[in-house]
Symmetry: C2
Subunit: 161 residues, 2 copies
Protein backbone atom coordinates (compact mmCIF):
# COMPACT_ATOMS: atom_id res chain seq x y z
CA UNK A 1 0.00 0.00 0.00
CA UNK A 2 1.49 3.35 -1.00
CA UNK A 3 2.04 5.89 1.69
CA UNK A 4 -0.31 8.83 1.39
CA UNK A 5 0.77 12.46 1.52
CA UNK A 6 -0.92 12.82 4.91
CA UNK A 7 1.50 10.39 6.59
CA UNK A 8 4.50 10.90 4.31
CA UNK A 9 6.60 12.65 6.95
CA UNK A 10 5.87 10.15 9.75
CA UNK A 11 8.81 8.34 11.35
CA UNK A 12 8.98 5.74 14.08
CA UNK A 13 11.25 7.94 16.17
CA UNK A 14 11.54 6.21 19.55
CA UNK A 15 10.50 3.62 22.10
CA UNK A 16 10.29 4.57 25.77
CA UNK A 17 11.14 2.31 28.71
CA UNK A 18 11.25 3.24 32.40
CA UNK A 19 14.46 2.39 34.25
CA UNK A 20 15.32 2.05 37.92
CA UNK A 21 18.86 3.43 37.90
CA UNK A 22 20.60 5.41 35.14
CA UNK A 23 23.99 4.75 36.75
CA UNK A 24 23.49 1.11 35.79
CA UNK A 25 21.37 1.41 32.64
CA UNK A 26 23.28 4.14 30.81
CA UNK A 27 26.60 2.23 30.95
CA UNK A 28 24.74 -0.89 29.84
CA UNK A 29 23.24 0.80 26.77
CA UNK A 30 26.37 2.80 25.88
CA UNK A 31 29.24 0.46 26.75
CA UNK A 32 27.66 -2.98 26.42
CA UNK A 33 25.37 -2.20 23.47
CA UNK A 34 27.34 0.68 21.94
CA UNK A 35 24.57 3.26 21.79
CA UNK A 36 25.35 6.92 22.30
CA UNK A 37 23.67 9.24 24.77
CA UNK A 38 22.40 12.03 22.51
CA UNK A 39 20.23 14.02 24.92
CA UNK A 40 19.50 14.18 28.63
CA UNK A 41 16.70 16.30 30.02
CA UNK A 42 16.31 16.92 33.74
CA UNK A 43 12.93 17.68 35.24
CA UNK A 44 12.16 18.11 38.93
CA UNK A 45 10.89 14.55 39.41
CA UNK A 46 12.36 12.65 36.49
CA UNK A 47 15.11 12.62 33.89
CA UNK A 48 14.84 11.53 30.26
CA UNK A 49 17.77 9.95 28.42
CA UNK A 50 17.77 9.58 24.62
CA UNK A 51 20.13 7.03 23.12
CA UNK A 52 20.81 5.87 19.58
CA UNK A 53 23.35 4.08 17.44
CA UNK A 54 25.63 6.31 15.40
CA UNK A 55 25.44 5.39 11.72
CA UNK A 56 27.71 8.18 10.49
CA UNK A 57 30.88 6.23 11.24
CA UNK A 58 31.76 8.77 13.89
CA UNK A 59 31.60 11.67 11.40
CA UNK A 60 28.55 13.44 12.84
CA UNK A 61 29.12 15.65 15.84
CA UNK A 62 26.90 15.44 18.90
CA UNK A 63 25.43 18.78 17.84
CA UNK A 64 24.35 17.34 14.48
CA UNK A 65 22.90 14.30 16.28
CA UNK A 66 20.87 16.55 18.56
CA UNK A 67 19.57 18.48 15.56
CA UNK A 68 18.58 15.35 13.64
CA UNK A 69 17.25 13.46 16.66
CA UNK A 70 13.61 14.13 15.87
CA UNK A 71 13.70 13.19 12.20
CA UNK A 72 15.51 9.86 12.54
CA UNK A 73 14.39 6.43 13.72
CA UNK A 74 15.85 3.96 16.20
CA UNK A 75 15.99 6.17 19.30
CA UNK A 76 15.60 4.65 22.76
CA UNK A 77 14.15 6.90 25.46
CA UNK A 78 14.85 5.85 29.05
CA UNK A 79 12.81 7.50 31.80
CA UNK A 80 14.23 7.69 35.30
CA UNK A 81 11.73 8.64 37.98
CA UNK A 82 13.95 10.06 40.71
CA UNK A 83 14.24 7.86 43.77
CA UNK A 84 13.77 4.46 42.13
CA UNK A 85 17.55 4.02 42.14
CA UNK A 86 17.30 3.49 45.91
CA UNK A 87 14.94 0.53 45.61
CA UNK A 88 16.42 -2.91 46.10
CA UNK A 89 14.80 -4.30 42.97
CA UNK A 90 13.45 -2.67 39.85
CA UNK A 91 9.81 -1.61 40.20
CA UNK A 92 9.37 -2.19 36.47
CA UNK A 93 7.72 -5.01 34.61
CA UNK A 94 9.19 -6.55 31.44
CA UNK A 95 5.80 -7.25 29.85
CA UNK A 96 6.64 -10.94 29.42
CA UNK A 97 4.74 -12.30 32.43
CA UNK A 98 1.18 -11.36 33.35
CA UNK A 99 0.00 -8.76 32.58
CA UNK A 100 1.70 -9.11 29.20
CA UNK A 101 1.97 -6.43 26.56
CA UNK A 102 5.30 -5.04 25.35
CA UNK A 103 7.61 -7.91 24.47
CA UNK A 104 11.12 -6.75 23.63
CA UNK A 105 13.39 -4.46 21.70
CA UNK A 106 15.76 -6.05 19.18
CA UNK A 107 19.33 -5.41 18.13
CA UNK A 108 20.55 -6.77 14.80
CA UNK A 109 24.24 -7.26 14.03
CA UNK A 110 26.67 -8.78 11.56
CA UNK A 111 27.92 -11.65 13.71
CA UNK A 112 25.47 -12.88 16.33
CA UNK A 113 27.84 -15.58 17.65
CA UNK A 114 30.54 -13.01 18.28
CA UNK A 115 28.07 -10.55 19.83
CA UNK A 116 26.74 -13.21 22.21
CA UNK A 117 30.22 -14.45 23.16
CA UNK A 118 31.06 -10.85 24.09
CA UNK A 119 27.83 -10.42 26.13
CA UNK A 120 28.68 -13.69 27.91
CA UNK A 121 32.18 -12.40 28.70
CA UNK A 122 30.73 -9.14 30.04
CA UNK A 123 28.38 -11.05 32.35
CA UNK A 124 25.15 -9.95 30.65
CA UNK A 125 22.24 -12.19 31.73
CA UNK A 126 20.60 -14.24 29.01
CA UNK A 127 16.91 -15.04 28.70
CA UNK A 128 17.74 -17.38 25.81
CA UNK A 129 21.18 -18.38 24.59
CA UNK A 130 21.77 -19.18 20.92
CA UNK A 131 22.03 -22.83 21.90
CA UNK A 132 18.66 -22.87 23.74
CA UNK A 133 15.50 -23.95 21.93
CA UNK A 134 14.98 -24.37 18.22
CA UNK A 135 16.00 -20.93 16.92
CA UNK A 136 19.80 -21.24 16.99
CA UNK A 137 20.42 -17.85 15.40
CA UNK A 138 18.40 -15.83 17.97
CA UNK A 139 19.34 -14.90 21.52
CA UNK A 140 17.63 -12.80 24.16
CA UNK A 141 19.64 -10.88 26.72
CA UNK A 142 18.20 -8.90 29.63
CA UNK A 143 18.87 -5.25 30.38
CA UNK A 144 19.42 -4.10 34.00
CA UNK A 145 15.63 -3.78 34.58
CA UNK A 146 14.92 -7.19 33.08
CA UNK A 147 13.57 -5.95 29.73
CA UNK A 148 14.23 -8.49 27.00
CA UNK A 149 16.57 -7.53 24.15
CA UNK A 150 16.54 -9.84 21.16
CA UNK A 151 19.89 -10.21 19.38
CA UNK A 152 19.86 -11.53 15.84
CA UNK A 153 21.93 -11.40 12.66
CA UNK A 154 21.31 -9.29 9.55
CA UNK A 155 21.44 -12.38 7.40
CA UNK A 156 18.44 -14.26 8.72
CA UNK A 157 14.97 -13.08 9.52
CA UNK A 158 13.30 -13.33 12.91
CA UNK A 159 11.82 -16.67 11.98
CA UNK A 160 15.00 -18.24 10.62
CA UNK A 161 14.09 -17.66 6.98
CA UNK B 1 31.84 8.14 23.42
CA UNK B 2 33.02 6.55 20.17
CA UNK B 3 31.48 3.30 19.14
CA UNK B 4 33.88 0.39 19.34
CA UNK B 5 34.48 -2.12 16.58
CA UNK B 6 32.73 -4.81 18.64
CA UNK B 7 29.36 -3.03 18.47
CA UNK B 8 29.87 -1.17 15.18
CA UNK B 9 27.31 -3.23 13.28
CA UNK B 10 24.58 -3.05 15.95
CA UNK B 11 21.24 -1.51 15.00
CA UNK B 12 18.08 -0.93 16.99
CA UNK B 13 16.02 -2.97 14.55
CA UNK B 14 12.60 -3.37 16.15
CA UNK B 15 10.19 -3.09 19.06
CA UNK B 16 7.69 -5.88 19.71
CA UNK B 17 4.15 -5.42 21.03
CA UNK B 18 1.46 -8.07 21.43
CA UNK B 19 -1.89 -7.32 19.81
CA UNK B 20 -5.39 -8.75 20.31
CA UNK B 21 -6.66 -8.60 16.71
CA UNK B 22 -4.64 -8.06 13.54
CA UNK B 23 -7.82 -7.27 11.61
CA UNK B 24 -8.04 -4.11 13.70
CA UNK B 25 -4.37 -3.36 14.39
CA UNK B 26 -2.93 -3.84 10.89
CA UNK B 27 -5.34 -1.31 9.32
CA UNK B 28 -4.58 1.07 12.18
CA UNK B 29 -0.81 0.90 11.65
CA UNK B 30 -0.98 0.90 7.84
CA UNK B 31 -3.89 3.21 7.05
CA UNK B 32 -4.00 5.49 10.06
CA UNK B 33 -0.25 5.71 10.68
CA UNK B 34 0.97 4.98 7.15
CA UNK B 35 3.36 2.13 7.94
CA UNK B 36 3.79 -0.71 5.46
CA UNK B 37 3.43 -4.39 6.24
CA UNK B 38 6.81 -5.78 5.15
CA UNK B 39 6.64 -9.34 6.46
CA UNK B 40 4.08 -11.69 7.96
CA UNK B 41 5.08 -15.03 9.42
CA UNK B 42 2.50 -17.63 10.39
CA UNK B 43 3.25 -20.19 13.08
CA UNK B 44 0.82 -22.76 14.46
CA UNK B 45 -0.14 -20.70 17.52
CA UNK B 46 0.82 -17.16 16.59
CA UNK B 47 1.52 -14.82 13.70
CA UNK B 48 4.19 -12.10 13.53
CA UNK B 49 3.67 -8.89 11.55
CA UNK B 50 6.59 -6.58 10.73
CA UNK B 51 5.75 -3.00 9.81
CA UNK B 52 7.85 0.04 8.94
CA UNK B 53 7.69 3.42 7.31
CA UNK B 54 8.96 3.58 3.73
CA UNK B 55 11.69 6.19 3.39
CA UNK B 56 12.48 5.48 -0.24
CA UNK B 57 9.65 7.65 -1.54
CA UNK B 58 7.96 4.56 -2.90
CA UNK B 59 11.02 3.60 -4.99
CA UNK B 60 11.99 0.43 -3.11
CA UNK B 61 10.03 -2.70 -3.97
CA UNK B 62 8.62 -4.93 -1.25
CA UNK B 63 11.34 -7.44 -2.15
CA UNK B 64 14.06 -4.87 -1.41
CA UNK B 65 12.32 -3.99 1.85
CA UNK B 66 12.26 -7.65 2.89
CA UNK B 67 15.96 -7.96 2.09
CA UNK B 68 16.93 -4.86 4.04
CA UNK B 69 14.52 -5.46 6.93
CA UNK B 70 17.20 -6.79 9.27
CA UNK B 71 19.75 -4.06 8.71
CA UNK B 72 17.46 -1.07 9.15
CA UNK B 73 15.91 0.58 12.21
CA UNK B 74 12.37 1.63 13.04
CA UNK B 75 10.57 -1.69 12.55
CA UNK B 76 7.48 -2.49 14.61
CA UNK B 77 6.81 -6.17 15.29
CA UNK B 78 3.23 -7.06 16.25
CA UNK B 79 2.61 -10.50 17.73
CA UNK B 80 -0.83 -12.04 17.44
CA UNK B 81 -1.42 -15.08 19.64
CA UNK B 82 -4.22 -16.89 17.84
CA UNK B 83 -7.56 -16.74 19.61
CA UNK B 84 -7.16 -13.40 21.37
CA UNK B 85 -9.18 -11.78 18.58
CA UNK B 86 -12.27 -13.48 20.07
CA UNK B 87 -11.86 -11.84 23.49
CA UNK B 88 -14.15 -8.94 24.28
CA UNK B 89 -11.30 -6.74 25.48
CA UNK B 90 -7.59 -6.76 24.84
CA UNK B 91 -5.71 -9.00 27.28
CA UNK B 92 -2.69 -6.70 26.94
CA UNK B 93 -1.34 -4.08 29.28
CA UNK B 94 -0.07 -0.70 28.08
CA UNK B 95 2.65 -0.45 30.73
CA UNK B 96 1.32 2.90 31.93
CA UNK B 97 -0.61 1.69 34.98
CA UNK B 98 0.74 -0.72 37.58
CA UNK B 99 2.82 -2.70 36.92
CA UNK B 100 4.56 -0.05 34.83
CA UNK B 101 7.47 -0.62 32.48
CA UNK B 102 7.24 0.09 28.76
CA UNK B 103 5.82 3.57 28.21
CA UNK B 104 5.14 4.31 24.55
CA UNK B 105 6.32 4.36 20.99
CA UNK B 106 6.64 7.74 19.27
CA UNK B 107 5.93 9.03 15.80
CA UNK B 108 7.53 12.27 14.65
CA UNK B 109 6.15 14.30 11.77
CA UNK B 110 6.40 17.64 9.98
CA UNK B 111 3.10 19.12 11.10
CA UNK B 112 1.80 17.84 14.43
CA UNK B 113 -1.34 20.01 14.34
CA UNK B 114 -2.31 18.61 10.95
CA UNK B 115 -1.49 15.05 12.02
CA UNK B 116 -3.64 15.36 15.16
CA UNK B 117 -6.53 16.99 13.30
CA UNK B 118 -6.49 13.99 10.94
CA UNK B 119 -6.38 11.49 13.84
CA UNK B 120 -9.31 13.31 15.40
CA UNK B 121 -11.26 13.10 12.14
CA UNK B 122 -10.49 9.37 11.89
CA UNK B 123 -11.84 8.80 15.41
CA UNK B 124 -8.50 7.77 16.94
CA UNK B 125 -8.69 7.93 20.76
CA UNK B 126 -6.38 10.42 22.44
CA UNK B 127 -4.57 9.96 25.73
CA UNK B 128 -3.48 13.59 25.56
CA UNK B 129 -4.54 16.18 23.02
CA UNK B 130 -2.17 18.97 21.99
CA UNK B 131 -4.33 21.35 24.01
CA UNK B 132 -4.14 19.25 27.22
CA UNK B 133 -1.50 19.98 29.84
CA UNK B 134 1.59 22.13 29.48
CA UNK B 135 3.29 20.55 26.48
CA UNK B 136 1.24 22.02 23.63
CA UNK B 137 3.36 20.45 20.88
CA UNK B 138 3.00 16.85 22.08
CA UNK B 139 0.01 14.51 21.79
CA UNK B 140 -0.55 10.90 22.74
CA UNK B 141 -2.95 8.73 20.78
CA UNK B 142 -3.87 5.14 21.66
CA UNK B 143 -3.57 2.14 19.37
CA UNK B 144 -6.36 -0.49 19.28
CA UNK B 145 -4.85 -2.34 22.30
CA UNK B 146 -4.43 0.86 24.28
CA UNK B 147 -0.67 1.25 23.79
CA UNK B 148 0.32 4.88 23.89
CA UNK B 149 1.76 6.48 20.75
CA UNK B 150 3.38 9.86 21.21
CA UNK B 151 3.03 12.25 18.27
CA UNK B 152 5.43 15.15 18.05
CA UNK B 153 6.99 17.46 15.46
CA UNK B 154 10.51 17.29 14.01
CA UNK B 155 11.12 20.87 14.96
CA UNK B 156 10.90 20.64 18.72
CA UNK B 157 12.39 18.13 21.09
CA UNK B 158 10.43 15.95 23.46
CA UNK B 159 10.75 18.55 26.19
CA UNK B 160 9.73 21.53 24.09
CA UNK B 161 13.28 22.79 23.58
Amino acid sequence: MPRTLETASFRFNHTMLRIKDPKVSIPFYTQTLGMELIQKHDFSDFTLYFLAFDHSGGVDTLDIKKKTQMSREGILELTHNHGTENLKETPYHSGNSEPKGFGHIAITCEDVEEACARFEKLGVPFQKRLTDGKMKHIAFIKDPDGYWIEVLPYTRGPTGE
